[in-house]
């Protein structure tokens, strides 16, 4: 009972914070932004309470299956964003991140049936595989949010239509270098995730390669290209931002693939 109440409270806090961020993005009221951040902190605290209670009550391993991983993912994204807020003035990015968090959190909660991981799939590598991928996706989610803001801001600068939204976005330079650093952080994690995933697929011979793995490889290639072209040729700005967004979409397709597959894995 307490667990489900806490789940609802957390979801409501996330939803309210998310709508405040969106209104702030559209209308630019500074007070709304402050409340959105406060509510997000409250949501994070509620989420932490919910997660620890769940761990205590049902002994759910947060990196055991895709649903608990999603919940952990949303929590980590919010934590990373709140930490980044201490250093960068990027409050407005909350409008891009909180909908994602809410989606993950609800996605994790809607199907709470714990599915036993099939014996032939169980492996010591699995927690490592899920763990590094989650951290990687956290970095990419933040990178994609900042890339989206970059693309929007760049378009406004080019079209010379500098409306209210323009006032609130951080400078192109901040968005670009933040995006680059985040991709640089997420890439090694994704690489380890891909390697452990491959080993695991090879170990449990019953699993066939499918679209999900294809998207994982595509995401990896996309981020590799973003980094390589930036370092070697100096590609940055819009192209790098679009690459980052595409890479993140591929990573999301991988997650969706896992979610849609029956059995939760």
């Amino acid at each position: 009972m307490l667990v489900s109440n806490l789940f609802l409270i957390t979801a409501a806090l996330y939803a309210t914070s998310c709508s405040l961020f969106l209104v702030h993005l559209a209308r630019g009221t500074a007070r709304l932004a402050r409340w959105a951040v406060r509510l997000l902190c409250a949501a994070t605290a509620a989420h932490l309470g919910f997660a620890s209670l769940e761990l205590y009550v049902s002994g759910l391993n947060p990196v055991a299956d895709i649903h608990s991983s999603l919940a952990l993912l949303s929590l980590l994204i919010v934590c990373a964003f709140l930490l980044a807020l201490l250093r960068y003035r990027i409050t407005v990015l909350g409008a891009f991140l909180t909908p994602l968090t809410l989606l993950f959190f609800l996605g994790a909660g809607l199907d709470r049936s714990v599915t036993e991981v099939p014996a032939n799939v169980r492996s010591a590598l699995l927690p490592v595989h899920i763990g590094v991928n989650i951290l990687g996706v956290v970095a990419f989610a933040l990178a994609a949010a900042s890339a989206t803001a970059y693309v929007l801001q760049e378009r406004m600068l080019r079209q010379k239509r500098l409306g209210g939204l323009f006032e609130r976005l951080p400078s192109l330079d901040v968005l670009d270098s933040l995006g680059f650093r985040l991709v640089l952080t997420g890439f090694p994690l994704l690489t380890v995730g891909l390697i452990t995933g491959t080993i695991w697929v090879v170990q449990s011979e019953s699993i066939n390669l499918n679209a999900t793995q294809g998207f994982a490889v595509m995401a990896w290639l996309m981020f590799a290209a973003v980094l390589l072209l930036r370092i070697a040729v100096g590609w940055r700005g819009r192209r790098a931002a679009i690459g980052t967004i595409l890479g993140f979409l591929c990573a999301m397709l991988v997650l969706a693939g896992y979610l849609l597959r029956s059995g939760g894995l």
């Binding site: 009221t29 500074a30 080019r158 500098l162 006032e167 192109l172 901040v174 590609w235 700005g237 819009r238």
Partner: protein, 448 residues
């Protein structure tokens, strides 16, 4: 009754030559304030002097004599240049509205300019230091601060710059963030280009100046604090620059698409902000299609300036409405402090109790004669008067002091007079969480 008023003149009523004669330096503000208080016989006073206005905010029992004295004080300082029409006198609600509008920069020459709030604060500090701030002015001015802050955060009154140089700087900041250490290049020596380059240099950007005549480049470099370079170094400087301002008198494009193609390759896609202030234009418009290059010409910048002004005008309308509702709240508070209604209410309450008790007791004493009844009535009335004598005297005397309001409040609270003075809301209900610490202190002071 003590009334708040403002006497003064501003850019809307008086020309600069009058305003500059009247203006008072920050160092002499306290001294002048002492003088004003002596000649005008006001209770509370605050003098504010900015490039837009010279005003005296004050409270007085006899408004017209105080205002007349203030007027002759200003006339004397203006030394003959002064005419009656330049001066305005606003009282009561109008004066409060004026204070709120001035603090919120709605009455400034450039609506939304940020300096006025600081100047208002300085004037208030000076007045407070000379002990000429009492309960009314204290509340009025601190309220003006929070109204101004509220308007700044809740409307876009301060959004956007209104001159081309600062728009160029704002745009550069939007692209590069902090401009310290960035490289700006000024090409040519037009006036507008020079102004824009100066404001860029003042943000901490490193400025390089290239001109066909190296003589002119050198003299400009001295006045703007930049580094002169020869015209032949244009391509290499373009490679290094982050922001380029062009304002040459050349009739052809100085920065052609071909030149930019070469430069762009060497720049490895680093972002470049080009500002072309020259007419005819110095930069080939095709350049704007290139990746990582942002090109703004003089029309773009002026268009933005016009848009910003329009946006401020719109915001100002919203701000005016906010000021009006705040003035109403203030007026409500001020009336709640009125001494007379409180005294009347207190007396009424006592008399009501006595009357009720008499009406209850007398029927039980039918043996009393008419004379005896009258004596009883008189005795009760005398008791009420004696009991109320010292509290009422104390209340009447306190009216002039800063803690007078506290006493009135305390009386209203102790005897639950709020409904009887015709007041429905307490001043505390106006105080919201976003207010300044100063105001919160005032609030706790009132309720203690």
């Amino acid at each position: 009754m003590v009334e708040l008023f403002v006497v003064g003149l501003s850019h809307q009523t008086a020309p600069l030559e009058v305003r500059e004669r009247l203006s008072i330096g920050a160092d002499r503000l306290s001294w002048e304030l002492e003088r004003v208080r002596k000649v005008t016989a006001v209770r509370e006073a605050m003098l504010i002097s900015t490039c837009n206005r010279v005003e005296l905010y004050a409270t007085a029992e006899n408004l017209y004599s105080a205002a007349e004295h203030a007027r002759s004080y200003l006339a004397e300082r203006a030394q003959g240049l002064f005419t009656e029409e330049m001066l305005y006198l606003k009282r009561g609600k109008e004066a409060i509205r004026h204070a709120f509008r001035v603090a919120a920069s709605l009455d400034s020459m450039v609506v939304g300019e940020p300096q006025i709030l600081g100047q208002f604060k300085e004037a208030f500090d000076a007045a407070e230091a000379t002990g000429s701030i009492g309960v009314l002015l204290d509340r009025c001015i601190t309220r003006a601060f929070s109204v101004a802050k509220k308007i700044r955060t809740e409307t876009s009154i301060a959004a956007g710059s209104v001159n081309v140089s600062s728009i160029a700087c704002d745009l550069a900041r939007k692209i590069f963030g902090d401009l310290r250490g960035r490289r700006a290049l000024l090409l040519g020596a037009g006036d507008m280009g020079e102004a824009a380059a100066k404001s860029l240099a003042s943000t901490g950007a490193h400025l390089t100046i290239i001109n066909r005549s190296s003589e002119k480049a050198r003299s400009l470099a001295v006045s703007c604090g930049g580094e002169p370079k020869g015209y032949e170094q244009l391509a290499s400087e373009l490679v290094n620059a982050d922001v380029v301002i062009t304002s040459t008198s050349s009739s052809q494009h100085v920065i052609t698409a071909d030149l930019m193609n070469d430069v762009s390759r060497a720049r490895r896609h680093r972002r470049l902000f080009l500002i072309d202030i020259a007419v005819p234009r110095d930069i080939d418009p095709k350049v704007s299609e290139m990746e990582s290059v942002f090109l703004y010409d003089v029309d773009d910048l002026q268009q933005l300036a016009a848009e910003n002004l329009a946006a401020r005008k719109q915001a100002a309308e919203k701000a005016e409405a906010m000021v009006l509702s705040e003035v109403d709240l203030f007026e409500e508070w001020r009336q709640s402090l009125a001494l007379t209604p409180t005294i009347v209410a207190l007396r009424n309450q006592f008399q009501y109790v006595v009357q009720a008790e008499l009406e209850r007791t007398l029927p039980k004493l039918p043996e009393l004669s008419h004379k005896q009844r009258n004596a009883l009535h008189k005795m009760c009335e005398a008791m009420v008067n004696k009991l109320l004598h010292s509290p009422l005297t104390r209340l009447k005397d306190s009216g002039a002091h800063r803690d007078g309001a506290r006493l009135v409040h305390a009386t209203q609270e102790l005897f639950e007079l709020r409904g009887e003075t015709g007041l429905t809301s307490s001043p505390e209900t106006e105080v919201t969480s976003e207010e300044s610490p100063a105001l919160t202190t005032a609030k706790s002071g009132e309720s203690s």
